[in-house]
């Protein structure tokens, strides 16, 4: 927004109009907020006592939400590691020279990209038992996340590998490296670095998707909030319902914003090092090799 393209640097008349627009716009926004707050207050949702339960260790709520956050992150972390590793393998497989490797892997990737994640999770949770394999909610959720995201990540890695300058590959072959060495020593390291921001963005998606565990009854944040609500309802009615859901939602937003910030930070870093690398190519090819090998 630093350089407005769609409107001129405003003159006095336009400034006056924008000021009016600002006031009207701010009033509209405030009106919506006020309306929601009035409605909430009207239903006694804003009573401090209702919110204090979230921070009162005696009620067990903070501990329960903390545990749920851990189990959410656990699923997400395991999913991330396996999805990334399998995604790398599949990306390499899809670029294989052998038809019999390429074809089934392409089919596998396209299949999991086309099917909704929840269907994959249901298939693991509901359909596999029909074949004698009974998975826990945890395994079904993690498995679904891995299968779905490995396909998405494979495409991200493949795009990264294909975006590497053709000369890199040719030069590596020219040096006498084998096919596997060209891939693991030359192409993959560059592709991963280039795709790091997209990769982290996809991992944010994975973390968000772990909330699907709620539907199959895995105790992640959302399920925990729901069960706390069900626990409190007989004693207090739905006194804490709204607050608990808000808390679960806010925790998700907080964690995801942190991860998104990481993605932005990484994007800034890789951009800088790309520029540095680009500059070094012009100056001294040896410098770039050094920079590439020494980069963290």
């Amino acid at each position: 927004m630093s350089t407005p393209v769609l409107f001129d640097v405003p003159g006095p008349k336009a400034k006056a109009r924008i000021r009016i627009g600002t006031v009207v716009g701010a009033l509209l926004v405030l009106a919506v907020i006020a309306f929601v707050l009035v409605r909430l207050a009207g239903n006694q949702q804003l009573d401090p006592q209702r919110w204090s339960v979230l921070f009162d260790p005696a009620s067990g709520v903070p501990q329960a939400l903390g545990e749920a956050l851990v189990s959410t992150l656990q699923v997400a972390a395991v999913g991330m590691v396996f999805a990334t590793l399998l995604g790398l393998l599949l990306a390499v497989g899809r670029l294989s020279d052998h038809r019999w490797v390429r074809l089934p892997i392409t089919l596998l990737i396209e299949f999991f990209r086309a099917v909704p994640l929840l269907v994959v999770i249901f298939a693991l949770y509901l359909v596999l038992p029909g074949f004698g394999i009974r998975l826990s909610a945890y395994a079904a959720l993690t498995g679904g996340l891995v299968l779905y995201n490995m396909a998405v990540l494979a495409e991200i890695f493949r795009a990264g590998i294909l975006s590497i300058d053709k000369g890199q590959r040719e030069a590596a072959f020219g040096l006498g490296l084998r096919k596997s060495q060209v891939m693991t020593l030359v192409l993959l390291p560059q592709a991963i670095r280039r795709m790091l921001p997209v990769l982290v963005a996809q991992l944010v998606v994975l973390l968000k998707d772990s909330s699907l565990g709620f539907i199959i009854g895995y105790f992640e944040l959302l399920r925990q909030a729901r069960s706390l609500v069900e626990f409190f309802t007989p004693q207090f009615g739905n006194q804490y319902t709204f607050q608990l859901y808000v808390a679960a939602g806010l925790i998700y937003i907080l964690v995801n914003v942190l991860l998104s910030q990481l993605a932005k930070y990484l994007e800034g870093r890789t951009n800088r090092s790309n520029q540095a690398g680009g500059a070094a190519v012009k100056a001294e090819p040896a410098d770039q090799m050094g920079a590439g090998a020494g980069a963290p």
């Binding site: 769609l6 924008i18 716009g25 701010a26 909430l40 929840l118 359909v127 968000k208």
Partner: protein, 215 residues
């Protein structure tokens, strides 16, 4: 084959529910997302702030949580919606954030000279956005919008967790009732989704080729 004949009504209804969820949610997302993108490039700071806040919030919230708020949260402020309406709203509001980002990237891709020229001939902000910038922006964002659409069709599956009998929920129901034919159930449900996504992908490619702007 008998399985498909027996369960055809359920599968058909489930498919139509998924389709109507997708269409209504998509319409809502398209209208709201475009409006948000217009806010985001407008000269009025509170509207810009509102739009940024909206997009950042919804992009970082799991769709399941959005569903939760709409279906279990809104009744707390006296807006009780049916599960179906709530699902349309959840999917639409969530997807609007992504539509906004796609359209905004399209607006950024329009050559600044176009906007400058339209201002030079005296068009106002609204006119230059409507007549010059947005039509070009939409033509460049056909592929990303297409991706958003296909992702949204798949996302409607979450409505299964909220008592809407769409395709994924029918999987759950059929899997419980037809233990012997689980694979067929799976095939039927997956085919239901593909019946929407594959023609969509072909149509998107076609439209993209038709309207692409060479820069």
């Amino acid at each position: 084959m008998q399985f498909f004949v027996d369960n055809f009504p359920l599968l058909r209804d489930a498919f139509l529910t998924t389709l109507s969820l997708s269409l209504l949610g998509g319409l809502l997302a398209l209208v709201l997302g475009t409006l948000l993108a217009a806010f985001r490039v407008s000269p009025i700071p509170p509207l810009r702030g509102l739009s940024t806040f909206y997009v950042e919030t919804f992009r970082n919230t799991p769709l399941t949580v959005v569903f939760f708020f709409i279906i279990f949260g809104l009744p707390q402020i006296d807006f009780a919606l049916s599960f179906y309406t709530g699902s349309v709203l959840a999917v639409g509001l969530y997807t609007a954030a992504f539509v906004c980002e796609a359209v905004r990237s399209g607006i950024n891709a329009v050559n600044p000279g176009q906007a400058e020229a339209s201002r030079a001939i005296g068009l106002t902000f609204g006119q230059s956005l409507r007549e010059v910038v947005l039509p070009q922006a939409f033509r460049t964002v056909v592929p990303p919008l297409g991706n958003v659409w296909i992702a949204m069709v798949k996302n409607t599956s979450i409505a299964a967790g909220f008592a809407v009998t769409e395709l994924t929920a029918s999987l759950q129901r059929l899997a419980n009732a037809n233990a012997g034919e689980l694979l067929l159930v799976l095939v039927a449900v997956v085919a239901g989704y593909m019946l929407i996504t594959v023609p969509s992908a072909i149509a998107i490619n076609h439209v993209e080729r038709r309207v692409a702007i060479l820069r």
